[in-house]
């Protein structure tokens, strides 16, 4: 028996959902960054699975770009966070209520 690739896709969907859930309920910006990484990993896993299934190298190249962009995003996010914390030492994101749904 071979591995169904829908298992991989399902794992990707689960990771994406967990990341989105974390982003909805978390208040600490650092943990929210981690949730975004979970979502991006779900995207990457899905792309690599499709790359294997379609035998198309494009799916792997996308992952390379997503990785680079994710690194840039984290750097920028931390920069913004540090600039906030220089003004105010406690860091929660109470005012971000737009993510409710």
């Amino acid at each position: 028996m071979s591995v169904d690739y829908s298992w991989y896709l399902f794992l990707g969907a689960a990771l994406f959902t967990i990341g989105a859930y974390g982003l909805l309920i978390r208040r600490n910006p650092l943990v929210m960054f981690m949730c975004i990484e979970l979502m991006l990993n779900a995207v990457n896993l899905t792309f690599v699975t499709f790359s294997r299934m379609l035998n198309d190298i494009g799916g792997q190249v996308v992952v390379f770009f997503v990785l680079v962009v994710a690194a840039a995003e984290v750097v920028v996010g931390l920069g913004i966070l540090v600039s906030i914390l220089r003004r105010r030492p406690s860091a929660t994101v109470d005012d971000i209520s737009a993510l409710k749904g």
Binding site: M1, S2, V3, D4, Y5, S6, Y8, L9, F10, L11, A13, A14, L15, I18, G19, A20, Y21, L24, I25, R26, R27, N28, L30, V31, F33, M34, C35, E37, N41, N44, L45, V48, T49, S51, R52, M53, I57, Q60, V61, F64, F65, L67, V68, A71, A72, E73, V75, V76, L78, G79, L81, V82, L85, R86, P89, A91, T92, D94, K100, G101
Partner: protein, 172 residues
Amino acid sequence: MVAQNIAFGVLAAATSLAAIRVVTTRNVVHAALYLVVVLASVGALYILLTAEFVAAVQILVYVGAIVVLLLFGVMLTKATLGEDDQLDNDQRWLGAVIALFLLGTLSFVLVDAFGDDKLPSLEGVSRATLEAQRGSGAVGDAIFSTFLVPFEVVSVLLLAALVGAIVLARRD
């Protein structure tokens, strides 16, 4: 094949459990360490999917750089170490309902589209062919031919992120 299935099962379980811990733990540092487990397992899954270049980059960039960056963030922002009850907001149940709905929808459409398809078998495919089609060399060729424009754009993006983040984070 059986070995692959077992490996997938173990890695999938590790990935999802660790991911759930990332979003439920009350400790920021633990969340970052659970994230390492998720990222490493996903990297191992890439090897199962014969994407060795991506697997290596996953470990180098994600585990080696991004998680370290996040841990530096914990240090720089003086986030509470240890238990912190302030980590969640009050929408846990609403969030769970939305997440379950999303997961249900995604599973439905995925099963609908790909329910009983199998991964193409690699039996009888020689190692040389596999490498030519899916190895690091093939990825490099694709990046520098088909995806040349995004590659150049990403290099400017990294420069911009670097310069901007320094300005924002520096003391003045």
